[in-house]
Amino acid sequence: MDLTRDQKLELYRYMRLNRVVEERLVNLYRQGKVVGGLYRSLGQEATSVGTAYALAKGDIVGPLIRNLGVVLVMGYTPRDVMTQYMARATSPSGGKDCNLHFGKPERGVISPISMLGALIPVMAGIALAGRMQKKNLVAMTWIGDGGTSTGAFHEGLNFAAVQKLPLVVVAENNGWAYSTPFRKQTAAPNLVSKAAAYGIPGEQVDGNDVLAVYGVARRAVDRARSGEGPTLIESLTYRMKGHAEHDAQAYVPKAELEEWRQRDPLERYTRVLLESATATADELAAVDRSISEEVDREVESAEKAPLPSPEAANQDVYAPRVAEGEPVVVRRRS
């Protein structure tokens, strides 16, 4: 469970990548090139990156729209993300769906729908199938403080607990659900106390400390993989921007925002790496530069990507028809 130096640098790399991709998205948004809204993850990068990094090859995630770091860890490229936001034909969803709504089981990512909570039962089903298929995989998904109020969250987590499924649910408590503060979302003092309702372990972690997040997530993943069932992790973090770029978050107390700005996860981790002599400032600057260049290239190529052609609007509602009489191929029982 101890991370190597390379792994620690990789964590840094993903967090930086998360942030830089998002900054470029903001530019594109201001240029009017993003179609629809832009949902920021500023200040929450450690949670996305630290949790997803605890997974192994073959594991499957179900991220939400602020989990940009998750899809990057899972191997989607900055271009994938940017073409999505620009509604291009070559985006992972081919322009059919928006922002981070994309994924394929083969790529280890399941796309959310907008309805919060709905991913939890679905990811329980992923975990269930994985067990039936003897894949020894772990499923991981994320939910906001607001999303925990949905019926789907409850039903999904309860089902997973009863079935002792290898599922990790990361509840990102970032203080707000759109304009609604935590205390109007639930009367519980925190989210981790909800684990008791399902008879599963709950762990709370400083969500802006990437190593701590990784540690907690890794324990939960290990428990899941060894058949001990689901864990609910509460990651304490903060939404540093409005619900979406159009929201100036006038309802957020300035002091609170300032307080959390001091705990910026990327700056904190940079300090940790430097102070522990894991990396030098030059080394990190080199990483930053390479990311910057990579993202520049990706933006350029994303901007050249074509919009979908209108005919695609009518395609792929159903599977291509299997020709009549053609035998359906199935795996026979061995």
Partner: protein, 341 residues
């Protein structure tokens, strides 16, 4: 009609004659055969394992296939369907039971937004089946008698089927399981033990998307499905004696609908009654009327007449439910007026 003409109408269940299979047994047989041939198929739902289901549709399957493949779940329709969606994305073939189909309302979001739209959104197919008992006639009251198929026929990405015969019940459940898209399989609880017929010994499916002409006729067409197929046939018999020759089309698949079979029939008879047990406004009958008035206009020699339940909840007390449900007499009345038109 496939196989022997099934018995219908007796109030209680009559024991199946040797070699005959009831509608409920046909569904179970279909499930069992698919589970045996394809290890990806599994079942989940409330009380379907140890108990064998509220209507015993899955009776004995847990003994045969084990509790990993016949899963008793908590009372959580959203989790049941959601877990089925996830498993289906992973290549499994889940079949989820709604204990009564009325409870499908509790999984509405999961079905219409997650399952129905996944392939379109990113090419990830969701080959699941959701099945359960629908329909009235057994005094189940407002929440154990509904016919919600219309909601789902208005949801692109879903397929909606409802068998009227034991042959189709088995053939369609097998086709539904093999289908690469989400299929909603509406059983009619009134038929479970009231109809039976001899089924082929060999493996067969009834293709999704194909209607069946249950009775050929010249004077008018009744387009219907589910238990109302029998009501239509009963009416046709009465009407035959009066010199009115009725064609009965059983849709079998409600969405996407086999428009061609409907159009061909009405192009021949030139008149149509649209019959269903679901409530009137916005039901399947409305869709058939739209298809006919758009694509078959020149062939119509009379108004399109709907015979359906009225726009009310399903009442419980027998005299009320009888007033609510369409029956052969109501069909005959409409048919006489239309024939005379």
């Amino acid at each position: 009609m496939s196989g022997a003409a099934p018995h219908l109408g007796a109030e209680g269940a009559t024991p199946a004659a040797k070699g005959q299979t009831t509608y409920v047994d046909a569904i179970r047989e279909g499930l069992r055969e698919e589970m045996a041939r394809d290890e990806r198929v599994f079942l989940l739902g409330e009380d379907i394992g140890v108990y064998g289901g509220a209507f015993k549709v899955t009776d004995g399957l847990i003994a045969e296939f084990g509790e990993e493949r016949v899963i008793d779940t908590p009372i959580s329709e959203t989790a049941i369907v959601g877990a089925a969606v996830g498993a289906a994305m992973m290549g499994m073939r889940p079949v989820a039971e709604m204990q009564f189909i009325d409870f499908i309302s509790c999984a509405f979001d999961m079905i219409t937004n997650f399952a129905a739209k996944s392939r379109y959104r990113h090419g990830v197919g969701v080959p699941l089946v959701i099945r359960g008992p629908s329909g009235g006639g057994v005094h189940g009251g407002p929440f154990h008698s509904q016919n919600p198929e219309g909601y789902f026929a208005h949801t692109p990405g879903l397929k909606v089927v409802q068998p009227a015969t034991a042959y189709d019940a088995k053939g369609l459940i097998k086709a539904a399981i093999r289908d690469d898209d989400p299929v909603l399989f509406f059983e009619h609880k009134f038929l479970y033990r009231r109809i039976k017929e001899e089924l082929p010994a060999e493996d067969y499916v009834v293709p999704i998307g194909k209607a069946a002409v249950r009775r050929a006729g010249r004077d008018l067409t009744v387009v219907t499905y589910g238990a109302m197929v029998w009501t239509a046939l009963e009416a046709a018999k009465t009407l035959e004696a009066e010199g009115i020759d009725v064609e009965v089309v059983d849709l079998r698949t409600l969405f996407p609908m086999d428009e061609n079979t409907v159009l061909e029939s009405v192009a021949k008879t030139n008149k149509a009654i649209l019959l269903h047990e679901a409530t009137r406004t916005g039901g399947i009958g409305a869709e058939i009327a739209a298809v006919l008035s758009e694509r078959c206009f020149e062939y119509l020699d009379g108004p399109l007449v709907r015979v359906t339940a009225p726009d009310t909840p399903v009442p419980y007390s027998p005299p009320l439910e009888e007033a609510f449900l369409p029956n052969a007499e109501k069909v005959c009345r409409a048919a006489r007026a239309l024939a005379a038109y």
